[in-house]
């Protein structure tokens, strides 16, 4: 490491100019991606801190560490921050922002200034929500169910709602930019059938962003107005229907789950192909499954409301549709697995995360089928079963994919390699820690432990202790990458343009890429994942 290369680096997007202004007023998608990376990492740690407090409180059955009010605020803020300020922007706003123009061979996203605006909206929205949290917090749960949120809660609901409202527009603008970029900015020869699957899945997620987000924006605005002016669109005491709120809320918030997972699926498709050196099995099916998930995802929202008082016939319809959305996800899992067949597989860190993703997402997806089943849902909804299920999808799926992607493209983003051994260790810690934390919660849920409980009956303690123990392992698994990524910025080995010998336009430019991405506009004449024609020289960086 002491012999770090001291030669003059080529000009790239990081060293083309310096100074705070060159960052805060940048319209370069790569710099905006870095801005997003820093902001969502901060949000991740804030949300993670709340999670740790929750787990510590749940070590004992009695509510002894924090008061019930504090506990309610903790899980609310954990939910709001993780969902709206970490998971939704994570892969799209960081990796998508950085990679989509590179992958389609463009100089930038279609609307660079809108992209910067989107980051500022994120910061303004995030700050608004954080101010609301610091000055007293919110205790409605991230779901803001009425009439509790409109009438009974005495906390800063309006601040949090307005924060999410503003951030919603950040998400809409990102999605809009992606869709327009993928439609209009592709390099010559890059047809839809040659498009990397990462672009396909981000495209699908972007569809949800622009179609779903406005609905929750207007809904939360109504909630804020109801609180401020005492009107009653959702308040039964004034003739409103609280279920209408739930319909409108879940119309976005269920598809939002797919905003979170779809880009992660894209990351996995890139990584699995690279490290098994194969074209993805059934490219069209994987690509179209993304779109199918995005569309079907809009048809299933009321499965969050099976016991909420909706009509049994509507429940039946939504249950049927919910089963359908499971199918394209299953198709993806099978195709990824089949891609390994007769491949030439290397176990680099991103691949380990990808294996973890497939396994955990399978569990998360299959337990989703339990929740789609009406008879079972009645018992397990609003229990720890649901908590475990969506953490398997969100953390086991999405965060694993995000970590996989971050490792995979870290050399591209920074020009430096991360330390492989430490990275493998942390991948292992995350996998073990995650399962120890959340698997017991499935059992807890079936035993009937309701969620959002500050204190619980003593018979649930053993599993809760196990869960908290797992959470500490998980925390170590997340702290490690934070340290070695920072370390690698200075001491990591220079990566070279293509350390994994991967295909894809993003690997055909230098690392880090120059401000204009490509010296000349690339012309694509090959299919996606064309590993057959990629020379298979031994990788020089790495440890095998």
């Amino acid at each position: 490491m002491a012999t770090a290369v001291q030669t003059v680096e080529r000009e790239n997007y990081l060293n083309s100019n310096y100074g705070i202004k060159s960052w805060l007023l940048t319209t370069d998608h790569k710099r905006i991606a870095i801005l997003y990376l820093i902001s969502i990492t901060a949000m991740f740690w804030i949300g993670g801190f709340f999670a740790m407090m929750i787990r510590l409180e749940l070590l004992t059955p009695a509510g002894d560490l924090v008061s019930s009010d504090t506990y309610n605020k903790l899980f609310t803020m954990h939910g709001i921050i993780m969902v709206f300020f970490f998971l939704i922007p994570s892969v799209p706003a960081v990796l998508g922002n950085f990679l989509i123009p590179l992958m389609v061979g463009a100089k930038d996203l279609a609307f660079p200034r809108v992209n910067l605006l989107s980051w500022y909206l994120y910061i303004i929205g995030g700050s608004t929500a954080l101010v609301a949290m610091v000055t007293g917090g919110v205790d409605t749960g991230w779901t803001f169910y009425t009439p509790f949120s409109t009438t009974y809660s005495n906390t800063h609901v309006i601040g949090a709602a307005v924060g999410i409202f503003i951030t919603g527009f950040s998400s809409i603008l990102t999605g809009l930019n992606f869709i327009v970029t993928i439609h209009r900015m592709r390099a010559p020869g890059l047809t839809w059938r040659r498009l990397p699957l990462f672009c396909w899945s981000n495209y699908a997620a972007a569809l949800i962003m622009i179609l779903g987000t406005p609905v929750i924006a207007i809904t939360l605005l109504l909630v804020a107005f109801e609180r401020a002016f005492h009107i009653g669109v959702f308040n039964p005491a004034l003739g409103g229907d609280p279920l209408l709120f739930q319909h409108l809320f879940w119309f976005y918030s269920h598809p939002a789950v797919y905003i979170m997972i779809l880009p992660g699926m894209g990351v996995i498709s890139e990584i699995i192909t690279c490290f098994s050196r194969k074209r993805v099995f059934g490219y069209e099916f994987v690509a179209l499954a993304s779109i199918a998930i995005a569309v079907l995802g809009f048809l299933v929202w009321a499965h969050h409301m099976f016991v909420a008082g909706i009509s049994v016939y509507a429940a039946l319809v939504f249950s049927l549709l919910s089963y359908l959305v499971a199918i394209p996800s299953a198709v993806k899992v099978f195709n990824w697995t089949a891609t390994l067949y007769k491949g030439s597989i290397r176990y680099e860190t991103p691949m380990l995360y990808a294996f973890g993703f497939i396994g955990l997402f399978t569990i998360g997806g299959l337990t989703g089928v339990f929740l789609a089943s009406l008879g079972l849902d009645v018992h397990v909804t609003d229990t720890y079963f649901v908590v475990a299920h969506f953490h398997y999808v969100m953390v086991g799926g999405m965060v694993m994919a995000y970590m996989a992607g971050l490792h995979f493209w870290w050399p591209k983003m920074t020009g430096r390699m991360y330390p492989e051994a430490w990275a493998k260790l942390s991948a292992l810690l995350v996998f073990v820690g995650f399962n120890t934390t959340f698997f017991p919660q499935f059992i807890l849920g079936y035993m009937g432990s309701p969620r959002r409980y500050h204190a619980y009956p003593p018979e649930f303690q053993v599993l809760n202790v196990l869960s908290t123990a797992g959470a500490s392992i998980l925390a170590v698994g997340y702290v490690l990458p934070m340290i070695y990524f920072t370390w690698s910025l200075r001491y990591g080995e220079p990566a070279g343009p293509n350390p994994y010998n991967a295909v894809g336009l993003e690997w055909m430019t230098q690392s880090p890429p120059p401000t204009h991405n490509f010296d000349e506009t690339p012309v694509v004449t090959w299919e996606a994942y064309d590993y057959e024609h990629q020379p298979q020289e031994e990788v020089t960086v790495g440890h095998e």
Partner: protein
């Protein structure tokens, strides 16, 4: 009910475990077999339509089986059998109040006899709560402004957890209680022990007189309001041509918001009783209106075979 849910649960768990293990095993096997050192050159495979179809259609088929099964259970859970004993519940931050047909009241404790169907008719005074008894595998949200229902049939005496499952504010986790299932004889003894002041329906009748309902809702055809005898559970023709069933929610709405659904042939002259009747009062009025239809129903029920849990 519980064993049906458990049966479905265990079968689905088995199927899920099978697929999870299949995927895990495949990944492990393929990752080891085709590791770079053993298999240095990948063979390119485009895909396979038969395989794609197989892993689209087989899961779809399995899903449809579980859909049908889960829905059957749900329909049973959603339809309280005829002749079930009725318990009224009012949820509020952060307690459960129960009222039995005999007029007895309970707080955070629900006493029921073994082997009888129990139908819960529930409403909330403030925010959304959820009535959850894990041992019976049932859960139903309790909403302000309307009634929701669920039912169960306890099969074993004992004390079971009762939880509020929908987050409802500060002391959500303290909104817990017990369902105490007793042997029928014991239950009878317990019921007669409470110092109740008349049945729920008779309380409702008193309220009916107090509020002056009887001046218009007379038991003949001369009243300015509809005659309430025998209407419960029957379809009602409305002024605007629609037909609704006179169920608990309809009676409730007619008291609180009389203008919303005017019975055909009557004028919208009834004042609202919003804010004048408590949730408990409303429930007793509903029970009273129900009792006005019971004489006819009794005969019908008696001639039917006893309601079963199917």
């Amino acid at each position: 009910m519980a064993w049906q849910v458990d049966g479905l649960y265990f079968l689905l768990t088995a199927v899920s475990a099978f697929f999870t293990l299949l995927i895990f095993a495949l990944i492990l096997f393929l990752a080891v077999k085709y590791r770079r050192s053993a298999h240095p050159h990948a063979e390119q495979i485009e895909g396979s339509l038969p395989l794609e179809l197989a892993w689209t259609l087989i899961p779809l088929g399995i899903c449809m089986v579980f859909f049908a099964w889960g829905s059957l259970i749900f329909f049973q859970e959603a339809r309280p059998p005829k002749g079930a004993m009725e318990v009224y519940a009012v949820a509020k931050q952060w307690m459960w109040k129960f009222e039995y047909e005999g007029g007895q009241r309970d707080i955070n404790q629900l006493h029921v006899p073994v082997g009888r169907d129990v139908k819960m008719i529930m409403s909330s005074q403030d925010v959304i709560h959820s009535f959850y008894v894990p041992a019976f595998r049932i859960k139903a949200d309790v909403l302000p402004g309307r009634y929701t229902e669920t039912w169960f049939r306890p099969t074993k005496a004992g004390t079971y957890h009762l939880f509020c499952a929908e987050y409802c504010g500060t002391d959500h986790s303290g909104m817990i209680g017990q369902v105490i299932v007793m042997e029928p004889a014991e239950y009878q003894a317990w019921m007669s022990g409470g110092g109740s002041s008349g049945t729920l329906a008779s309380n409702g009748e008193q309220l009916f007189q107090q509020l002056g309902c009887a001046t218009c809702h007379r038991f003949d055809t001369q009243g300015r309001g509809p005659n309430l005898v025998g209407i419960f559970g029957k379809p009602v023709l409305l002024e605007d041509g629609r037909t609704v069933t006179a169920d608990e929610n309809y009676v409730r709405e007619s008291i609180l918001n009389p203008g919303a659904k005017i019975v055909s042939g009557f004028k919208p002259i009834m004042p609202t009783f919003q804010g004048q009747v408590s949730e408990e009062g409303l429930m007793s009025l509903v029970a009273y209106v129900k009792s006005l239809s019971q004489d006819q129903q009794k005969g019908a029920v008696a001639s039917q075979p006893p309601a079963s849990a199917q």
